[in-house]
Symmetry: C2
Subunit: 180 residues, 2 copies
């Protein structure tokens, strides 16, 4: 079965996923009264599980809303030993090398994976483990914060698959990795 690791994330024009104070308010700087989902629902239908880092997990837990995922979530963590009771059945802890983690997840028959969280995405990219990259760009220069992308040992070529604009203001481009 084909296995694909996918990223779906919004950045500022200067490539940040959180502002200097860790804030995410700028993500909502474009009015969205009709709650256009900017492809998120369609993307979630493409994946059968989510892998995220602990920081992202704790951020999502802190959101003032019900648990937002209908797919199984795997949380990468070396420090967490147990999942808070309310997340049991929704979330599994995983650790080890990324290839070990992927083996565990694939072993549960999940093959199309949503890879989320800045550190996790960077780790996957460092090992050239990302196949699809859907980048949504909010038209603001934050001038600092947490970068989506980090250092890589080698350049990675992608191919533009499609491009759209939401709400007249938000560019979204889908790329896939081209391996020669």
């Amino acid at each position: 079965m084909e296995k694909r690791n996918k990223v779906f994330i919004a950045t500022s024009l200067d490539g940040y996923i959180a502002d200097k104070n860790g804030g995410l308010d700028w993500l909502h700087s474009i009015p969205n009264t009709d709650q256009v989902d900017m492809g998120y629902g369609a993307f979630m239908n493409e994946v059968d599980a989510i892998i995220m880092g602990r920081t992202t997990f704790e951020t999502v837990c802190g959101f003032d809303c019900p648990w937002p995922y209908s797919k199984p979530v795997f949380v990468l963590s070396r420090t967490l030993k147990t999942i808070p009771e309310e997340y049991v059945g929704k979330v599994q802890l995983v650790n080890g090398s990324l290839s070990e983690v992927l083996k565990q997840v694939h072993g549960q028959d999940y093959h199309n994976l949503y890879i989320d969280g800045g550190n996790t995405i960077q780790s996957f990219l460092q090992e050239d483990l990302i196949d699809d990259l859907i980048l949504t760009t909010i038209p603001v220069l934050l001038g600092g914060g947490s970068s989506l992308f980090g250092d890589l040992d080698q350049a990675l070529n992608f191919e533009l698959v499609s491009s759209s604009v939401f709400l007249d203001q938000v560019q979204q481009v889908r790329y896939k990795r081209t391996r020669k």
Copy 2:
């Protein structure tokens, strides 16, 4: 007369304008046999002069091609005292604060300015002096190099004006600064 400072530049997916070795080969990673100019000619028609940093000037001087600009070029430099003879009449040296530099350039009746070079663009953005930003994205993650964007004291909001794809692979988005 309305004055506008404009940026037209290509970056990698991760926001670099030169790779780890200062190289620009990746800019040509998408085959362009018909030499599509990706809006460069139309952009040059919008501007009446160019302001660039010394590093960019020296890079352009090093290209194995005739001087590529038909518009006057102002080179920002604190260290250069004279322009090499072959560039006299094409290039003027300017220095001082950006507002002093702009005053000199506007004084010569140039009002729509192409601001070029990483350091120069960053300096203009730090003083919120960029009005139009045309960003062309090559679908490669370089994983390091010279970043287009740098730190800012304040976030700067832009508005998406238009979006196009060249050569099926190269996304170009035009933004303008929205000042409230």
